[in-house]
């Protein structure tokens, strides 16, 4: 009995304990979300406190009732403690003897009564907690309050669109819509159908190499018919896949190059097509290291993997994204792989499978800017596909689907406007939608119009800028959403901050100021002002003019010259700040020349072609000037040559001479010819034989001044005949040889004169016979015959006689004309003469010497000078 009582008290207390922590627990319903911000949390707390207060007030009366109960309870407890008696109680009791011998009597409570009591206690316990209101109830209420408040706030947000400081909870954890709503199948693709088909067609061509499947025999006429129907309905003049396979069974175009502005779904297309055709797409993009080595490795890993193809294992298809950013060596390497190696492996058909370096997996390359210089070699090889913009209606429909699934209310028209603004960039559209969705549930036209998103800052290509220069932008259709809606929102709406400050751009794109702004922006985004001006310069005459006055042309050209001057100044003084003045010329061109017609733009090549020609002409001229004789050159600079001399010179060097042998010329004719030759040599002109394309030989001027002097539609001057030219050319050669020889002998003579001079000096020392006055060397030689010398020579004549003659013989073989000298430099002739005269007079006199050599021919040997032969 007693223990039950104890138990009861214990129960009471423990029950109390259990409920104590309940008070702080009331607040947390809002704490579910850990990221919940503090302000809101506090607000919630205060709210709940308020709720509790109210509740307390409401239950005040109850509480009052409860309090006496509590009092009773405590009283009961005291009563309980008084249930232990020393004496025998009145009611039933239980006697207890303590160890000290004391005896107590516990009054006994009936079990039913006890149960009843317990029940009543637990009942009290439920209602009589610290909060007075049950926690569950409280929690439910708080939740309800929370939802109510959220709803309220959402409503508020919808009304007053804020710049997005508050975030809605749900969108936070979500994946990007771009990722979420990515097409999963071929049929989901938004890009242009014909493009998709071409890519698919191409990748299917690889089937033979990769899967070993024979390509389905495609009937040519069938295909043609298909083409015909195609061409009838859609005028897509896109690139055609060459259906033929090369000798390795690979398509002739080894690689496909997709290019187009960002956000059209190129990468998606590549992935889906690869997947669709049964490949495992391996992507490689700008975020990867793309040095040659890594590139090579990846490529080899991806393409030359020769694993057995089973059901699970798909062959790889390499997708190289953003290839325009890859370093040129890598691209070159890839190109080599594509082109060169395939030529090398021209063996049997089976062999190609063994070739490690042979590419036999499809490679898809993706780029934004096709005309990157590094891509040039690839362009030639690849099947280049310019990605057409997605149809805005298709895109808008897809966006509408997305909106529906995301519970974002959006009009189709608004979506269309969005597409247009984003220039059909799928990714951009989805991002905008997601952004809007995070703030509110409805997308309206004003959002699209006022938002600063969608104006991409990518570099404009030259052609697009030229096109903009020459065409007036079409007025965009004014789209009005629900007018009521707009009106309703005008008061509350705070437009997004527009970073570009040209809101009116999109409201009225045809106004002059917006055209000005637009043009300026476009030009600046391109930046190649020199090329822009050149392109304008070469294209403006081809456009149709509205009016016939020439003032605009004149004005435009003045701007071109202005640009030219500024550019030269920039280059010269390196003052780049003046670059800021350059884009305005393009704006002027636009205002002066823009029409509504579609301009046909050609790349400006004339200027560079002209520069090339000028360089050629200049080098021709300098090749002539460089070899001209100094005296002629001193008086004729290249300027004078061009202006005055050359045109007449070409007349002058074509005199009327008879085309006969020069031997038959009269004296006057000979003089004339000599004059001609002289002139031509001094101006470094001659004729050289050339073979024309049709196999005829002609003699043409060399350097060919005709090219510089003659103009295209001038009547040709009379030309010398072939024979005459040949004759002149020969004469010039001869004359040159003659001159060279003359020069040579002059030099030699000078040397010998010098030598003789030194020898004479030496001799003078020997003889110690000082010649008083300085006599020119050549005169000295004549005098050098002092008598004592000969007398001394007489003494040894017998011995020297033979020597001398022999020496002469030897000398005569080498050179007869040169004055023979003996060892000391004395002129031998003088010395020998008296003696020889006496003996072999005839031989000495004669210029020619005969010497018979046994066993040899009896030819006459003699040194001859060129001048004697010519």
């Amino acid at each position: 009995m007693f223990y039950v009582n104890l138990c009861y008290t214990f129960c009471f207390f423990s029950g109390k304990k259990r409920y104590k922590p309940l008070v702080p627990n009331v607040a947390p319903p809002s704490l579910r979300d850990p990221t919940f911000d503090q302000a809101a949390h506090e607000a919630d707390l205060s709210l709940i406190e308020r709720i509790v207060k109210i509740r307390k007030k409401q239950t005040a009366s109850e509480f009052l009732e409860v309090v006496p109960k509590n009092v009773n309870d405590t009283h009961a407890r005291t009563q309980d403690s008084a249930r232990i008696y020393r004496r025998l109680p009145n009611s039933d009791f239980q006697a207890i003897t303590m160890e000290t011998g004391e005896r107590f009597y516990l009054s006994r409570i009936d079990e039913d009564e006890m149960n009843l009591k317990i029940a009543s206690i637990t009942a009290v316990q439920k209602t009589v907690c610290l909060l007075n209101v049950p926690y569950d109830q409280l929690k439910a209420q708080a939740e309800q309050e929370q939802i109510r408040q959220d709803r309220h706030r959402a409503k508020q947000l919808q009304e007053t669109e804020d710049s997005g400081m508050d975030e809605a909870d749900d969108s936070k954890n979500e994946a990007l819509w771009v990722e979420k709503y990515k097409p999963r199948h071929y049929l989901d693709l938004l890009s242009d159908e014909s493009t998709n088909r071409v890519v698919l067609q191409w990748i299917k061509l690889w089937d033979k190499v990769v899967f070993g499947r024979e390509k389905k025999v495609q009937h040519k006429d069938d295909k043609k018919q298909k083409e015909k129907t195609f061409s009838k309905f859609q005028k897509k003049t896109g690139p055609e896949v060459i259906m033929e396979l090369d000798d390795h069974g690979r398509p002739t175009q080894k690689v496909i190059l997709l290019c187009g502005p960002p956000g059209l779904g190129k990468t998606t297309l590549a992935h889906i097509i690869a997947h669709h055709a049964g490949y495992n797409p391996v992507e490689m993009n700008a975020s990867d290291d793309r040095s040659v080595d890594v590139f090579k490795k990846t490529l080899e890993n991806a393409t030359s993997m020769k694993a057995v193809i089973d059901a699970e294992k798909r062959p790889n298809c390499l997708i190289i994204d953003e290839i325009d950013g890859a370093p040129a060596p890598s691209i070159n390497w890839l190109v080599n792989l594509l082109s060169g190696k395939s030529n090398l492996g021209g063996g049997g058909k089976k062999k190609k499978k063994e070739g490690i370096t042979l590419l036999h997996r499809p490679v898809i390359c993706i780029c934004n800017e096709l005309y990157t210089p590094a891509l040039r070699p690839m362009r030639l090889l690849a099947l280049v596909i310019q990605f057409p913009p997605t149809h805005s209606t298709r895109l808008a429909q897809r966006l509408a689907e997305v909106c529906r699934s995301q519970h974002l209310k959006a009009d189709l028209m608004v979506l269309l406007a969005l597409c247009e603004k984003m220039e059909n960039d799928i990714r951009g559209c989805l991002s905008v939608l997601q952004f809007v969705r995070s703030n509110k549930l409805r997308l309206c036209l004003s959002d699209v119009d006022t938002s600063a998103v969608g104006q991409k800052d990518y570099q404009r290509s030259l052609f697009s800028v030229w096109r903009d220069v020459f065409s007036i932008p079409r007025p965009k259709k004014k789209r009005r959403g629900n007018p009521h809606e707009l009106e309703h929102q005008d008061g509350v709406l705070i437009p997004m901050p527009d970073l570009n400050k040209n809101v009116d751009n999109f409201l009225d794109s045809t106004s002059l100021s917006s055209r000005y702004q637009q043009m300026l922006r476009t030009t600046e985004s391109c930046g190649e002002y020199e090329k822009l001006t050149q392109g304008w310069f070469e294209n403006y005459p081809n456009i149709k003019f509205k009016h016939t006055s020439l003032e605009p042309i004149s004005c435009g050209l003045e701007w071109a010259t202005f640009n030219d001057i500024v550019q030269k100044e920039i280059a010269h003084s390196q003052s780049w700040f003046m670059m800021a003045f350059l884009p305005f010329a393009c704006v002027m061109y636009h205002f002066l020349f823009a029409t509504h017609q579609w301009p046909k733009i050609q790349y400006p090549a004339q200027m560079s072609e002209m520069n090339h020609k000028i360089q050629k002409a200049k080098s021709l001229l300098s090749s002539m000037v460089n070899e001209m004789s100094p005296i002629t050159r001193a008086f004729a600079g290249s300027l004078q040559l061009i202006n005055d001399v050359l045109p007449y010179l070409l007349h002058i060097i074509q005199p009327n001479l008879r085309p006969v042998n020069t031997q038959l010329y009269s004296k006057q004719e000979k003089e004339e010819l000599a004059g001609l030759i002289n002139t031509m040599i001094s101006y470094n002109l001659t004729y050289t034989q050339e073979r024309t394309l049709d196999g005829q030989y002609t003699f043409s001027l060399d350097p060919n001044m005709d090219e510089i002097v003659r103009f295209p539609d001038m009547k040709p001057e009379k030309q010398l005949t072939y024979a005459m030219r040949q004759l002149v050319a020969r004469e010039i050669e001869l004359e040159k040889v003659r001159r060279a020889e003359m020069y040579f002998y002059q030099q030699k003579a000078k040397e010998s004169v010098k030598m003789q001079a030194t020898r004479n000096e030496r001799k003078k020392k020997y003889i110690s016979d000082p010649p008083a006055k300085p006599v020119p060397n050549h005169l000295q030689k004549l005098h050098a015959k002092p008598l004592p010398e000969t007398a001394a020579g007489r003494g040894r004549d017998a011995a020297s006689d033979v020597d001398i003659i022999q020496g002469r013989d030897a000398a005569s073989d080498v050179d007869i004309i040169q004055t023979p000298k003996d060892f000391f430099g004395r002129v031998v002739e003088r010395q020998a003469q008296p003696e020889v005269k006496s003996t072999t007079n005839e031989i000495v006199k004669s210029d020619i010497w005969f010497r018979f050599k046994e066993g040899y021919s009896n030819a006459v040997r003699r040194t001859i000078k060129m001048r004697d032969m010519l």
Partner: protein, 355 residues
């Protein structure tokens, strides 16, 4: 050396055929054995070079006629290697800095300074200064001309400069003031005719006086061209007949033809056609300023007094801007378009005045 131009070029100051007074002045100038820096300017074919060479001969004797060609190499600050050709004798050196175009300043700074700053070795037997001839000074960039200023003053002890230019207007005043300017005017028509007669006599040809007169007139008082014309006529036909056709250089005919087309029609199409022709001229190395001059000459012929003034003004304006810019075709076409606009307006106005 057998073009008549070269063959009969007078070599001494005494033997010059015209501007004899000036020749005697020049002779006196160098009599003392020294002279200041000279700026010799005058139209093409007036005999500037001839006078310079004659002057040098007066100074140094016939040795100056022994010319040789030397190739000088130097490196620009941007490490570009350049080569320029000089024509030199033992006593003087001739350079045309505008051959290297944009880098002419480097030529002035390196080459000229080098030559100028080195002293003559043997001053006993030679003059104590060398002579540097700079041709086409008016084509020098402003930078180069400024670089020249100080050089001229600093090395005056060891060298003399003879500057040769077509017009002194493009030479900066600082240089002009440092030089003794000698203007060599173009010879008169009669003088040219006379010289032609002398040459023909030497060649033992008989030149009818009317013919000589015609050639002289056609040459535009350019003696070089006159002599060349005469020789070309001689080759074409001898004995001369007074009605003989005297040919002009192709480019001149072409240019005149171009001008005629401009006057004939003023439309964008014609402008395009003319552009092709201008390109053609430029690719034949005809300098743009010559094109300007030739066009203006022809165009003005078709204009009234007031319009003449306007057109000339336009041409001057655009030619000046051409000097500032670098792409000749823009400037020439700008001038042509401006002319077309003005001329068309003028025609329309006169038409409306008539009716």
């Amino acid at each position: 050396m057998s073009l008549w131009v070269d063959k009969y070029r007078p070599k001494e100051l005494d033997k010059l055929d015209y501007h004899k007074e000036q020749a005697s002045h020049m002779k006196k100038l160098v009599e003392s054995g020294d002279f200041p820096h000279l700026l010799i300017y005058g139209p093409s074919g007036a005999g500037k070079k001839t006078r310079i060479m004659a002057l040098l001969r007066e100074l140094y004797g016939p040795g100056v006629e022994k010319l040789r060609i030397e190739h000088e190499n130097f490196v620009t600050p941007s490490k570009k290697k350049l080569e320029i050709v000089t024509i030199a004798s033992n006593y003087h050196i001739e350079v045309n800095p505008s051959d290297v175009g944009f880098y002419d300043r480097v030529v002035i700074q390196e080459l000229i300074k080098n030559i100028a700053s080195s002293q003559q070795l043997d001053t006993g037997s030679q003059r104590e200064f060398k002579v540097i001839i700079l041709s086409e000074v008016d084509k020098l960039t402003k930078d180069a001309q400024h670089a020249l200023r100080r050089t001229m003053e600093k090395y005056v002890a060891s060298c003399r400069l003879i500057l040769c230019a077509n017009s002194s207007s493009k030479v900066i005043p600082a240089i002009r003031s440092r030089c003794f300017g000698i203007r060599v005017p173009a010879p008169k028509v009669e003088e040219i005719a006379h010289i032609l007669q002398i040459i023909c006599k030497k060649e033992s040809l008989s030149l009818p006086p009317e013919m000589a007169q015609r050639i002289a007139e056609k040459s535009g008082r350019n003696l070089r061209r006159a002599i060349l014309m005469c020789e070309a006529c001689r080759v074409q036909q001898y004995p001369f007949s007074s009605q003989q056709k005297i040919s002009s250089p192709d480019w001149e005919v072409y240019l005149q033809d171009t001008a005629r087309r401009i006057v004939d029609e003023q439309s964008p199409n014609r402008l395009l056609e003319v552009r092709g022709r201008i390109y053609e001229l430029l690719t034949h190395c005809i300098p743009p300023d010559v094109i300007f001059k030739g066009l203006l000459k022809e165009l003005v012929r078709n204009c009234d007094g007031e319009l003449k003034c306007e057109i000339t003004c336009l041409a001057a304006f655009h030619e000046y801007r051409l000097g500032q810019g670098s792409k000749a075709i823009y400037h020439i076409e700008a001038f042509i378009a401006a002319f077309m606009a003005v001329y068309k307006k003028f025609l329309e106005e006169s038409m409306s005045a008539m009716f």
